[in-house]
Subunit: 560 residues, 2 copies
């Protein structure tokens, strides 16, 4: 049996290694158009930021070491330029010599990856404007940032996605002042707005110049500097620009070779990871696959799923499609300075796009028991189905242990579970690691209270629309249930203060003909007060979701 | 409706709080025989160790604050001494005055907790010998450790369970030299031996005197010091002794009141947490409940399950048993100096006791991508069913992120999942948090390879029995697949060195008539070499489970 594999990074190299382990006697040739295989894609920003000191550490394997261990013939600088699926052969171009040759296959695996999006705006080809995807990109950026600067160093990041923010952190660490330009009203679109504003606040505290709701209309280039001209007429001068607008699947070879391209613009594959040609398989960033929650195909640009696909693909190559890929719910995480920011499943934007109804809850627990030193703030947002509590999406922003909670939430979504499953999860508890009620359980409890109508959450935008409408406003009575001290230190304008621990005593004072809006710092005391009022004859009682913490951050970064 | 709740710590206080939130208008009285309610049980060792500086931080609520918030009548120093389930009343003794009175109930909740085991050995009542369960215990120990010592301070910990090791760390932190005495051949019995030895090694590196396979036969007391006389004739002198042999459910009241006690010695409850008297419910450490994996009843002394039970119990009290408790798989964790040590589900000892067949795998991944700085060693052991791969138990020892992996493993066991589910879990990956193949996925992959007979693991005790039997030994050929340098730095005596990357070249030299035992550092290279040999005509090829790392630690602490 002769296997050809096109692409030598995550998907391709992993497929080759697994293939050899289950089929010692086949011929395996791996083609890679670049100079390197099996390198640490996700480590590139950290090598630029000097967090990873040794360039050599980026390479998990060299072509030679990989070849020795797995008896795979690795051909670098070798671009496959055509696939003939009838004759079952490929045409290969050696990029150094330009020489072309053919190679036959029994089975073929495509792992071409994705490429950065570079919109056709004026000046985008300036030598100070970079994308970051390959080792060569990295080397070029590294060379520039290590050079001498006469004045203070200014970096412009265009696009506030995961890689953009990782680059912001790493360049900041090298002494650059950072401007981030983002067309959307928020960073990191997999996050919903009430979670994104926590990141906004953190970036501001790190002295990052964050420009939202604004795009770049053109670049101009002068004296080894670049000016980004913004849509609102402003301009920003920088020593380098990182373009991190996004990536798209590299489908050129697949397309010209007649393979089916899916609706999301990726290579179409079935559940066995076969393309429209049964002897050609595809894995990694270039494929599209239905999202297990929405059912809608999408391209998932993540290393974890690529590795999983590679193992399944290798097993299916040898053992006749015995395995099925289940799809990814796009669980993603990034370190953003001191924050850990992650999302899994569907965001509100996704849900609206798919016309899927949802409820949402926000909790602000601490990372471990509050009485044990070092507990850190954390925020968890759940999106879940009103009909049955099915968990549709979850987001976590925090530091210590935020990654742990995200993985647990992802496991429930992947299993098609509900918010009740969050309650049933068993957590390892000791004070350094968690609380007797883990943040994930707590999020589940709050969602259950919402779902079973023990509490009626009010979202920030609903409150905004009430507060901005004098007529409407008149129907509501707003209560801050925090202590007198907290109330005096700042509250939502127009609220009265009835601390939760005394609210039973003052209940006669609260106008029972009005709709009540309760809030506290994070939602717990508002919930307890909700329970008291709802069981004391008040008909309409709301609790502000995420409390004053969420509301005041939104006020800082969103509400005009 | 009138509810009485007996016991004001985790289970009782949580039941009362939830009860009030769903039933604003009932009467709720909480009896607690001690001076405090709702305190941080799990924080007590850390307050002694001065990690938690303020005594006040141990109290999540005071009787007054709790009463105010939840409109619950809290009666401390009040011991319920009898329950009359026919008349539906209890007899209460006020411990300060000795006055007794009666109180009627509609529904009653028992949350008496557990008490430390104190075996009847001579001298055990010395004032320098302590157990640690309550705030009063804590105050007594704190007072002693804060007093002046003339010589170096010596502490003896009897029993190397979770609390024993937490106390060892905290007293060590205060400058005590620590001796731990344990009757079993290992610390922390929820761990299997190959995992426990990692803890042994860590304790040794912290200069802890760890005495295993040895019990205390008596104590003697002289000049404010205690001597522990050991079963092997040795004796240890100490300034204080912490008895942490274990706890047992406090069932006295339940027993004398005629409630059913189960086979495991705890209060019997049904899935609604009702005792044998339908209007009496029970929660927390004092109840027993069937283990979801083994089906065998056991008492689970953990705060997480107690909190879950309390919420279910309150809901059932108000809404006629609408909820069922699913039982706990005893997911437990402890910080042991710089290590995080945790276990969930069934250990090998449990499995043997229940006659459940199992396979086992050990992996030694790093906590996050190796190329990103700060990756820490981690070890994961899985116990799983040979028939279908059902995950029966899991253990993790590491530092960063070990708690995260334990929670994920627990979620799979709780769901009745298999090692294949570990492979399907979707992990949030960025270099600071994980690897593209997360340690949990990796453990799943290794278990899958074992289950599908892609590799045949050999456990350390099997290897031991071969190496100690000259006749048997002759049938085997043992290969160290690590590099020449690693081999020269120490290997298993009698092994030949064929590094994995060259083994194909030397395959003719390997005696094909013998059974082959392969090993490497942690198991990966041995696995790759296994695959090569098994597909090259070798009939019997084993890979040493956990590699040289596990084997050499066992050699240090177990193998004589």
């Amino acid at each position: 049996m002769k296997y050809l594999i096109i692409g030598g990074v995550a998907g391709g190299a992993t497929t080759a290694a697994r293939l050899r382990r289950i089929d010692e006697n086949s011929e395996i040739i791996l083609f890679e158009k670049g100079d390197y295989i099996s390198y640490a894609n996700c480590g590139l920003p950290y090598y630029i930021g000097n967090v990873i000191k040794e360039r050599g550490n980026l390479f998990l394997q060299t072509p030679i070491s990989f070849g020795n261990r797995f008896n795979v013939e690795v051909r670098i600088k070798s671009e496959v330029i055509h696939i003939d699926s009838v004759q079952k052969k490929v045409k290969v171009c050696h990029l150094d010599t330009g020489k072309e040759y053919e190679e036959y296959y029994d089975k073929l695996v495509l792992s071409p990856g994705a490429e950065p999006i570079k919109p056709p705006i004026a000046g985008i080809d300036s030598p100070q404007i970079f994308t970051l995807r390959s080792v060569n990109d990295t080397d070029r950026i590294k060379k520039l940032v290590q050079s001498q600067f006469n004045t203070s160093k200014e970096a412009i990041i265009v696009g506030a996605g995961f890689i953009g923010l990782e680059m912001a952190e790493n360049l900041h660490q090298l002494g650059f002042h950072i401007t981030i330009i983002e067309k959307a009203p928020q960073v990191m679109t997999p996050l919903d707005l009430p979670m994104a504003v926590i990141v906004h606040d953190h970036l501001k505290n790190k002295n990052i110049n964050l420009i939202l709701n604004n795009g770049v209309s053109s670049f101009s280039h002068q004296h080894e500097q670049v000016t980004a001209h913004l849509e609102n007429g402003e301009s920003i001068l920088g020593d380098l620009v990182i373009l991190s607008i996004g990536v798209k699947p590299d489908i050129q070879l697949a397309k010209t070779s007649g393979l089916k391209i899916g609706n999301a613009g990726g290579i179409w594959v079935n559940e066995h990871l076969q393309t429209s040609e049964p002897d050609i398989y595809a894995v990694g960033d270039a494929i599209e696959f239905p999202h297990p929650v929405s059912g809608k195909s999408f391209c998932c640009y993540l290393a974890g799923p690529a590795n999983k696909q590679a193992r399944i693909c290798a097993d299916n190559l040898v053992n006749e499609n015995q395995k099925s890929y289940q799809g990814s719910i796009a669980t993603a995480i990034a370190k953003v300075f001191d924050l850990t920011v992650g999302a899994t499943g569907l965001s509100e934007m996704n849900l609206k796009g798919c016309h899927i109804p949802y409820l949402t809850s926000i909790t602000h627990p601490t990372s471990h028991a509050g009485y044990y030193p070092g507990a850190k703030p954390m925020s968890i947002k759940l999106n879940f189905a009103p009909a049955n509590g099915k968990l549709l999406g979850a987001q976590v922003v925090g530091s210590e242990g935020a990654d742990k909670r995200l993985d647990l939430l992802a496991s429930v979504i992947s299993n098609g579970g509900t918010i009740y499953d969050l309650i049933d999860l068993e957590h390892a508890y000791a004070p350094p690691y968690s609380s007797a009620k883990d943040p994930v359980s707590l999020a589940g409890y709050v969602a259950e209270n919402i779902l079973t109508q023990k509490v009626f959450p009010m979202q920030w935008d609903e409150l905004e629309s009430i507060l901005s409408d004098k007529q409407k406003r008149n129907d509501y009575f707003m209560i801050d249930t925090r202590t007198v001290m907290e109330y005096k230190n700042g509250t939502i304008s127009g609220s009265s203060n009835y601390p939760v621990d005394e609210i039973r005593e003052w209940i006669e004072e609260i106008p029972s003909e009005k709709k009540i809006i309760l809030f506290c710092a994070v939602g717990l005391r508002g919930y307890i007060a909700s329970r008291i009022l709802l069981q004391s004859g008040f008909k309409t009682v709301y609790n502000l979701s995420g409390g004053f913490k969420t509301y005041s951050l939104l006020g800082k970064y969103v509400i005009k």
